[in-house]
């Protein structure tokens, strides 16, 4: 396998893709949003339970997609659960900027180290949108873009 492919299909990514965390509908959700990648038709729905003090108490997702989009969604729910809404929104800014431009000016104030596993997609321009899909759903669920969100 080429180095580029290996970098994209890291073990961590394949693990999250085949065993996604927080997969399924969330009955206690207060916020939901859909995201669609019109290129491939992949879609997912993100559920957030936001508490009275603006914390993301719980999150989950459901949908179907490629290994990259599923792993990214799984990592997202792992990352934002327990965060204040403002920090989660900063994560959206930071992660999408990093995936698209390779760097981010936003400091979300939380370690995104495990999301570095997604960095391998940067060498595959056609696949960057797979990695950002779930994050657009987050952005939409937090009321910052219409749902269904798209990667366009």
């Amino acid at each position: 396998m080429s180095a580029g492919l290996q970098a994209m299909y890291k073990e961590l990514i394949l693990d999250h893709a085949s065993n996604p965390r927080h997969f399924g509908a969330l009955e206690s959700a207060t916020h939901t949003a859909d995201a669609i990648n019109p290129l491939c038709g992949d879609k997912l729905r993100l559920y957030l339970e936001i508490s009275a003090d603006n914390q993301i108490a719980n999150s989950s997702f459901e949908g179907s997609g490629c290994a990259i989009s599923m792993a990214s969604a799984s990592l997202l729910t792992d990352t934002v659960t327990g965060l204040p809404v403002a920090m989660a929104e900063a994560c959206f800014e930071s992660v999408t900027a990093r995936l698209i431009h390779g760097e981010s000016a936003t400091d979300p104030g939380v370690s995104l180290a495990r999301l570095e596993a997604l960095d391998g997609v940067r060498k595959f321009p056609a696949r960057v949108k797979c990695a950002t899909l779930a994050w657009h759903a987050l952005h939409a669920a937090l009321g910052n873009e219409p749902t269904p969100a798209t990667t366009e």
């Binding site: 396998m1 080429s2 580029g4 492919l5 994209m8 299909y9 394949l14 290129l39 491939c40 038709g41 992949d42 879609k43 179907s64 997609g65 490629c66 290994a67 990259i68 599923m70 595959f124 056609a126 696949r127 797979c130």
Partner: protein
């Protein structure tokens, strides 16, 4: 002479060498191009014809008295004549040049159907269609209050003919049906279907985008009212397309777009439209593209469509059999009559991941919904991987595909 070429072609042709784009490395490996159903590569003769036109003959058509305009017009109209012969249309007046299959279908929806439709009327399509043969009809139904009726397909990806026939009645204004499914490869028995539609006086449009490049097409034999296809799927340039329409129907239709070239005389009180087919060709057309399409037809006819169909049928059989041998494969589309494309899924690997991994081994396939989301919904899947073959592919390409799939299985093991 043609016959000799055809026989040599099946035994071991050299058609691949005619396509310069195929001679390259992708990710360090010789390119295997299995995405012709999305767009075909162009032979040198098409590329050179377009380049020569651009270098030496370019001018606007139907307008100038100068030499270059004559040359451009002759070459452009010459291409129309070739298209006319290629599909055995009775008259060049019935060959409307468009930007592609999509525009051809929209033209019929808006110019033929829209004035005729109202509440209670129906447009009949099938579950097999791609978006270009769905959305234009949805639009015209919304505009007029007519209903869009969809005939189902079975698990093999074939139209359920009895069901389709049951849906035919006197309220159906037009039936639009693909010749060959772009997602599943199913060849529809358009001749039989049209014969049936005649009992109810249903006008029939055949979407031939995937038909024309792979088999001889005779619009008089099929007896369709309209036949739409694209240049870029038959080795011509993008942005070119054809609408064949029976003359009496085209004659009765209002223009589709207004502009230059489609008029005889314009005043602010009244405009007199040009004769067929120019009534439907407003503005400066894609001159170089159409001339390239003419060269593509010359290329196809030098080989012969029968020879191409025979070669592809054999290679297609090899493709399907080879895929069947792959452990964990699920073929999507198993109709009895198929051509050129095979959709499939491998284990639970998403098509998009497959596409990336194959690309890294130099193998280009299409992945996703193939602009036919309802077909995917019918099979309860988001998308497929699709390999499509053409005259320039060979068994080695199929073997490379199979080897690349084995690699994908390793990664996702």
């Amino acid at each position: 002479m043609k016959e000799a070429h055809a026989i040599a072609g099946v035994a071991g042709n050299n058609w691949r060498a005619d396509f310069p784009a195929l001679d390259q490395l992708v990710h360090g490996q010789p390119l295997v191009y299995l995405d012709t159903a999305a767009s075909a590569q162009q032979p040198s003769s098409v590329i050179d014809t377009v380049a020569k036109y651009q270098r030496e003959d370019h001018a606007n058509v139907h307008r100038g008295v100068h030499t270059l305009s004559h040359r451009a017009t002759d070459a452009y109209e010459g291409a129309r004549d070739r298209i006319c012969k290629f599909i055995n249309a009775p008259s060049r007046r019935e060959i409307v040049l468009t930007s592609g299959t999509t525009e051809s279908i929209n033209l019929v929806a808006q110019s033929y159907c829209r004035p005729r439709l109202g509440p209670g009327d129906k447009i009949l399509i099938t579950h097999l269609e791609h978006h270009a043969n769905i959305v234009p009809w949805q639009l015209v139904c919304e505009q007029t209050g007519a209903a869009l009726v969809v005939a189902p397909i079975n698990d093999r990806g074939e139209i359920e003919l009895e069901h389709l026939y049951d849906l035919m009645d006197d309220d159906v204004c037009l039936m639009a049906i693909g010749h060959v499914s772009n997602a599943l490869g199913t060849i529809n028995p358009v001749r039989d279907i049209i014969e049936r539609a005649r009992q109810y006086d249903i006008t029939v449009l055949v979407d031939g985008a995937q038909g024309v490049p792979h088999m001889p097409v005779d619009v008089q034999d099929i007896d369709c009212d309209f036949y739409a296809f694209s240049g870029h799927k038959m080795f011509g340039p993008t942005g070119t397309g054809v609408l064949f329409g029976k003359e009496d129907l085209l004659e009765a239709m209002p223009p589709y777009q207004g502009g230059g070239d489609m008029i005889l005389e314009v005043s602010f009180e009244k405009t007199i439209y040009n004769e067929l087919p120019y009534k439907f060709e407003a503005g400066t057309p894609n001159i170089s593209g159409v001339i390239g399409l003419g060269a593509a037809i010359d290329y196809l006819q030098r080989i012969g469509m029968q020879a191409i169909a025979a070669y592809e049928a054999e290679l297609y059989g090899y493709l399907v059999e080879s895929l069947r041998q792959v452990d964990g494969i699920r073929l999507i589309g198993e109709g009895a009559e198929r051509a050129s494309v095979q959709s499939f899924l491998l284990d639970d690997i998403h098509a998009h991941d497959l596409g990336t991994i194959l690309d890294h081994q130099g193998v280009a396939i299409r992945t996703g919904h193939h602009c036919a989301m309802p077909v995917m919904q019918r099979f309860g899947i988001a998308g497929t991987a699709r390999a499509s073959i053409s005259l320039y592919n060979n068994r080695e390409d199929v073997d490379r595909l199979v080897a690349a799939l084995a690699k994908a299985k390793e990664i996702f093991a």
